[in-house]
Subunit: 279 residues, 3 copies
Amino acid sequence: MFSKCLENVRSKAPLVHCITNYVTVNDVANVILACGASPVMADDPCEAGDITAICDGLCVNIGTLNSMTIEAMRVACARAQALKHPMILDPVGAGASRLRTDTARKLLDDYDFTAVRGNMSEIKALASGSNDTRGVDCSGLDAVCKDNLDDAVGFVSGFAARENLTVAVTGAIDIVSDGRTSIAIYNGRPEMGRITGTGCQLSGMTTACVAADMISDAGSAGTVFAVAAAVSSMGVCGETAYANLKEGEGNATYRNRIIDAIYNLSGEELDGRCRYEIR
Amino acid sequence: MFSKCLENVRSKAPLVHCITNYVTVNDVANVILACGASPVMADDPCEAGDITAICDGLCVNIGTLNSMTIEAMRVACARAQALKHPMILDPVGAGASRLRTDTARKLLDDYDFTAVRGNMSEIKALASGSNDTRGVDCSGLDAVCKDNLDDAVGFVSGFAARENLTVAVTGAIDIVSDGRTSIAIYNGRPEMGRITGTGCQLSGMTTACVAADMISDAGSAGTVFAVAAAVSSMGVCGETAYANLKEGEGNATYRNRIIDAIYNLSGEELDGRCRYEIR
Amino acid sequence: MFSKCLENVRSKAPLVHCITNYVTVNDVANVILACGASPVMADDPCEAGDITAICDGLCVNIGTLNSMTIEAMRVACARAQALKHPMILDPVGAGASRLRTDTARKLLDDYDFTAVRGNMSEIKALASGSNDTRGVDCSGLDAVCKDNLDDAVGFVSGFAARENLTVAVTGAIDIVSDGRTSIAIYNGRPEMGRITGTGCQLSGMTTACVAADMISDAGSAGTVFAVAAAVSSMGVCGETAYANLKEGEGNATYRNRIIDAIYNLSGEELDGRCRYEIR
């Protein structure tokens, strides 16, 4: 199932418009290229609509947002929605400042996003409007583990149903749900949290997978599976890259090797190594 | 010939002011350092003139342009022109949005650029004012190959003559022309297109080569050769880096190895491995 | 002594708010993660205060400053000062433009910075208000060597005393002084200057070390030692990474290996390899 989603990206090579933070933007671009799609970044309101129009999907990431880029996000979302392009939101740091929480919440209220991807603290901030995220990392209290998995799936599924979109909450265990189908994914490594931007990269790749799914010649596998394929791909590649680390290597090399692994990931390998359950 | 241009960069260590997109800026800075020059980035109109004044060359790249950076580009261009500094334009995504096409076109109209470097779709958009580039990549229809090389050289040469500058169109076959001398360059690897920003990096290195050529103690080799030396250097290093890739490595490591190869490229190696013909 | 400062970062994992340039921001984030802290970047004045408030330290870097980010710096500094958070200034390119010199000088005048880290040309520009730095690199005339070390220590110590903060001037020999204790540090490699942003990275790690020192359970080692620990760590890791470079590798791989080395640096190794003297 996941292999088909990845192969769609390779065969359709969707063009992905990213309005994303400047901290991790280069890695986002390289991950989008690694998975077989093509990135374009444009964040001036004067061209955000034009660029969205020539693309197959839109990725909105609120890290390092400002008044100009917020306006560009709104212009791009309006255009993507009019064109029925898939739109993915990454609410980086929602809960860490009023500006981030409110901007993400208002984007969700005003536009029909296809999917949202964040850590549990960010998604809880979106769900509750609360504002107590510790920076851009997930609070320890919010971490998903075996013991609280049922509750977490219930929360994510409920939020997805209420917002009428697909939600991906990533962490030690990832949960992807559209309110009907919920998938728990067990791939990945804790050391991925020591690299800046693995979440942003995943949001870029998720947009590529969802966009390719929608324009697939073979018909859509469904957004929830396209999102889960991206989440699982990132996790599998985090494992591959970790296994390849040599003594003395650290987070900088690990970052490169994850992107390299995405570049080389085959659909067959993904299907063989993904670990998930439908819940 | 090319070796002299590269060695000039190493001996003169020109300071290069880049107003460039935030997607690939870090790689641009590291490539400029790798080839022996020194980068400085400043894009507030309040300081763009001051920074240009202390530099030896200006690289203007319109990826992720916005109203503030467009104004900074104009301030910097005016100062560079007054000081007779070389000015290189990279029209990233010209043809993909009205803002990009018009901004690049207006910069060319208003200032005396020394050289322009882009892919064929971008250069065609500049030449025609048309607006149908697919994002920041070259359209397949525009790709230069053996069969259409004569026509392509004619187009590039004509555009260079009309605009009175040196034009570099890079792709499977690169063409550099100042309207009198035209050079086709055959170095490079198609996999370079799977890395974000190899074009931006090349524009940065081109600025370093042209600036060093102008201040060379041995006299100028001519801008068209300085540009061609940069283009060929990038292609040779793309080949070197590709040959060094190990199993499991992908575009992230390839990116690093290309910059590494530029760092280690000698003039002698460049002269031995460049493949070009004067047409 | 230095080991304690590094271990504090690992045990306290301080959250560091960086308002920093977009050229090197990704490396700054990865270095902060590598040393055991956590970065968050926010540069819109609307949220700069909120983000500062949830952090343990503030790093202000004036590379690629603009009118919006200058305002964000001021908002963040005011909040950090009110909360008695450590504040570190990196005056990138002070002396290269009037905007940079004046912005850095005014930040120092208006807020109680804990420490400043720059190259000698930048620090001299701050001390004198003069404006003749060559871009973002140290002028050769300003380089610290054995022959002028006494004078340089005197200058740095005097500037620190006058400004009532800790000053780190980094170069071939690094000098850290709070006006009472002055430390000369001999770690590092000249090739680090061929990588963009090693200074920016160090300023980020310095903020992590100073913030961790202030909230250490074992009591503060003193800011001058926390800063010196960061400076020495970067130098030691520059040496480690250089020793690990293989034939054909250059500045891109060197950059990654330095961050990797920080990731793997133990307190014991730091104490065994740091080379410094109290002067």
